[in-house]
């Protein structure tokens, strides 16, 4: 492990400001060790000794350094069927309600953002195949997006360690995965090809809008990384790419009501979710 690079208070503030402007992620003094550790690792890898040199390298985005640095800072550990109650809510309530509003042949669109290494969008796909009776008569598009491009590469590969599968029954693992080595599993080719993976930062309006509109968005445990202003921007971006009546599911510690009044709270048997009002009722 590399030693911690010497970074002054001013330099730390500089790099945090740079990260905030590029990603909306807010790193406070409390995260200093974490950021400094990642910084040191990048500097050691590039054989750069001084912060000033690295910062110039970063700002100039030499060899895609901005993306590499951001990738090193994102937390991507997750697992299949995480927060299963929201998946139950998806198949019991949300999709039925959205399906009723669709024209014949119109696809239901689901967005998992951020999707990390793909566990969530693949979980959604598996869950619907197993638990939503209409899955055979409806077109369903699932898109997984993340700011971390290394994660997206892994997601497209669809290979996972045993640990990511800890919530799945042996039957599900046998049905949807093939073993690739000791404690390694790869998701079935058909399933892998059914999920589209793209790069997106939820605070970037143009990137979000490029994804079209969705019926359900899973946006779990990312807004907590933003400050109030970026959270509001992200909420409005997500509002814009939900169809009227569409739903957004947040992580269990997050509340949209504390971020934006644009959404209505919907309480279902399995989960509380947020909804873009079905008809905005103005215009």
């Amino acid at each position: 492990m590399s030693e911690l690079a010497a970074v002054s208070e001013e330099e730390y503030a500089k790099v945090c400001d740079f990260l905030y402007r590029r990603t909306g992620m807010l790193f406070t003094e409390a995260k200093r060790y974490y950021v400094q550790r990642r910084l040191s690792e990048r500097m050691a890898f590039l054989r750069i000794a001084s912060f000033a040199t690295y910062y110039a390298y970063l700002r100039s985005d030499v060899d895609g350094e901005i993306e590499k640095f951001i990738n090193s800072l994102t937390v991507n550990e997750t697992y299949f069927y995480r927060e299963e109650h929201q998946l139950r809510c998806l198949s019991s309530d949300l999709l039925n309600e959205r399906a009723e509003a669709k024209r014949p042949g119109e696809a239901l669109r689901i967005w998992s953002v951020p999707c990390a290494t793909g566990e969530e969008p693949y979980s959604i796909a598996m869950w619907l195949l197993e638990n939503w009776p209409e899955v055979d008569v409806r077109d369903i598009e699932i898109v997984g997006s993340d700011i971390d491009t290394a994660c997206l590469t892994a997601a497209r590969e669809g290979e996972f360690a045993q640990r990511a599968l800890m919530r799945l029954s042996p039957g599900l693992i046998a049905k949807y995965f093939v073993p690739t080595g000791e404690n390694r599993w790869r998701i079935l080719e058909d399933l892998r090809r059914s999920v589209q993976f793209t790069s997106a930062n939820v605070t970037d309006r143009a990137q979000v809008r490029a994804h079209g509109t969705f019926d359900v968005i899973f946006c779990r445990n990312v807004l907590i990384y933003f400050d109030d202003a970026s959270r509001r921007v992200a909420a409005e971006n997500l509002f814009e790419c939900l169809v009227p009546g569409g739903f957004i599911c947040l992580g269990h510690t997050e509340s949209m009501s504390r971020i934006s009044p644009l959404f209505e709270v919907r309480r279902f048997a399995d989960a509380i979710v947020y909804q873009r009002p079905p008809e905005d009722g103005h215009g």
């Binding site: 490029a210 202003a229 644009l262």
Partner: protein, 197 residues
């Protein structure tokens, strides 16, 4: 497999109107959101806010001003903390909270406002400031506060972020409002918490 995959179609939104104050609410929303991405948009957003009646568009304007986080944007928002419309007051406070450093210069005036509602709402903004800034402001407010509700709001914030120098004023407030059991309870809680921290 019923799951399909195809390239995402971009969002089909209403074309933004050329002005932030003309067109349908959807068009104004689109215009405001596009304008908010430009650093020079504060004057036009502030002007639009004065005319806008749609809550959703207003919210987008507040977000745009909060995102700018300049002295000018904070000043434009702070004016609405004194609005007669409770929703607008609330939205203004939320926007000021989203730009704590830009809001900071407005706090002494807001905490001394003749309207107790303005003083009460302003107390919430102090939670997000460094303690060295927030404690003197809360102490100053409590020294002169005549409204029990405002005093209770300030005490509640002090219970979270108070430092030992706030203890004397808390004792004086307890004497001034000695007949109010809720305030007495809140003050005891704040004193205990500050004492333990």
């Amino acid at each position: 497999m019923p799951l399909i995959r195809r390239p995402s179609p971009p969002v089909e939104a209403a074309a933004p109107s050329r002005s932030l104050t003309e067109g349908t609410a959807d068009q104004r929303w689109a215009a405001v959101r596009a304008a908010a991405e430009r650093p020079d948009a504060v004057p036009s957003l502030a002007a639009a806010l004065a005319q806008e009646s749609d809550p959703r568009v207003r919210e987008a304007i507040f977000t745009g001003l909060a995102r700018a986080a300049t002295a000018e944007s904070a000043e434009a928002v702070a004016a609405y903390v004194r609005s007669d419309d409770a929703g607008l007051r609330r939205a203004a406070i939320d926007a000021l909270r989203a730009m704590p450093m830009a809001s900071r210069p407005h706090l002494p005036g807001m905490l001394a406002d003749p309207d107790p509602d303005v003083r009460l709402l302003s107390c919430e903004l102090l939670r997000d400031l460094p303690q060295a800034d927030s404690n003197p402001l809360l102490i100053g407010l409590l020294e002169r506060e005549s409204s029990k509700n405002v005093a209770a709001a300030a005490v509640e914030v002090l219970a979270e972020i108070g430092r030992p120098e706030a203890l004397p004023v808390l004792n004086r407030v307890a004497q001034r409002f000695g007949d109010d059991p809720f305030l007495a309870f809140s003050i005891k809680l704040a004193v205990d918490r500050i004492g333990r921290s």
